[in-house]
């Protein structure tokens, strides 16, 4: 994996900060679409799977493929993925575009894409978990 210079790290972090609201909005939609297991207080496994693939992927396209695979399934969570999958793919495409705006070197672009995706998923999952917690507090009250 290419090591990014501090300037590119700062610029990618700034992009993540500036777009936090947009990413959080997607987290809210993940909550509305996938919800969670209220009886056992377990979060939806699809959220963990998404987070896992984003954090472990060495190729950004593997993240896009995860979403496409979920949307293309015959059974399971495919209906829920189909309601917001294209918006997730559009969001990922924007990250891809931003990596090209930030640098022209292909190796840096690959590393930037993955860095942006990890910032993106942190914001999405945090919002989802926050919604879960609020829902549980509402239930307890």
């Amino acid at each position: 994996m290419n090591v990014l210079c501090s300037k590119l790290i700062q610029e990618s972090d700034r992009y993540i900060d500036e777009n936090h609201e947009t990413f959080s909005e997607l987290g809210r939609r993940f909550f509305e679409t996938f919800c969670y297991d209220k009886r056992n207080s377990r979060i939806n496994t699809q959220i963990r799977n998404l987070q896992q693939i984003v954090c472990s992927a060495t190729r950004f396209a593997d993240i896009e493929d995860f979403v496409k695979n979920q949307m293309g399934k015959e059974r399971g969570n495919e209906k829920r993925w189909k309601t917001l999958g294209d918006d997730v793919l559009a969001g990922l495409e924007q990250l891809r575009q931003e990596s090209q705006n930030l640098d022209t070197d292909p190796a840096n672009q690959m590393a930037l894409r993955l860095r942006l995706a990890r910032g993106w998923v942190r914001a999405v999952v945090s919002e989802y978990l926050y919604r879960v917690a609020r829902d549980q507090m509402g239930d307890a009250a």
């Binding site: 994996m1 290419n2 060495t58 190729r59 950004f60 396209a61 896009e64 493929d65 496409k68 695979n69 949307m71 293309g72 399934k73 015959e74 495919e78 189909k82 292909p106 190796a107 690959m110 590393a111 894409r113």
Partner: protein
């Protein structure tokens, strides 16, 4: 970053989507079953050099079915034949890479990445000295090894993108 990582993340992703979208938009449906795509993906992962044979077999099977089929079914089978023909052209062996009717294939991408000394190997000539012949044979051998290695790494990477995009398109078509 390796060459296969980079191409898989850029060129293969783009080509898989473009080639499939062009075909599927043209024929207006997704002609092959999920199970056939799972088979294609498995072959690409485990026996990358056999993808074109697998696709040829599927194509021949569809052609045989088409011969005795009613008109409506024959149209559906033609779409299946077109799909497998695309797979053959995208994966075909290097001997056909130069005259493929498609403008891009994994093989052609490999030929573009050949190391300089393996690109223009002089043709065999009767008046070559023993040393020249030996040198040429060694270059040919190295070229073949290099191309086989390319296939082993790049066919699985490309067809991962290709199969996933097909499943995505099929899922979306079922939704509409």
């Amino acid at each position: 970053m390796t060459c296969v990582d980079f191409l898989s993340d850029t060129t293969y992703r783009r080509q898989a989507a473009e080639q499939l979208n062009r075909l599927l938009d043209d024929i207006g449906k997704c002609p092959v079953k999920r199970s056939q795509i799972y088979g294609l993906r498995q072959i690409a992962r485990q026996q990358p050099n056999s993808v074109d044979k697998f696709a040829s077999h599927q194509c021949e099977r569809a052609k045989r079915k088409q011969e005795g089929a009613a008109e409506g079914a024959a149209v559906g089978l033609q779409a299946e034949i077109d799909f497998w023909t695309l797979v053959i052209s995208l994966s075909g062996d290097f001997s056909h890479a130069g005259d493929s009717s498609h403008d891009w294939s994994v093989c052609k991408e490999g030929l573009d990445h050949l190391p300089g000394d393996l690109q223009n190997i002089p043709p065999r000539q009767g008046n070559m000295t023993h040393e020249e012949r030996t040198h040429r044979n060694k270059l040919c051998e190295r070229r073949q090894k290099w191309l086989n290695q390319w296939n082993n790494e790049h066919i699985p990477a490309f067809f991962e993108r290709f199969c996933t995009h097909y499943l995505y398109r099929r899922g979306m078509a079922e939704n509409s």
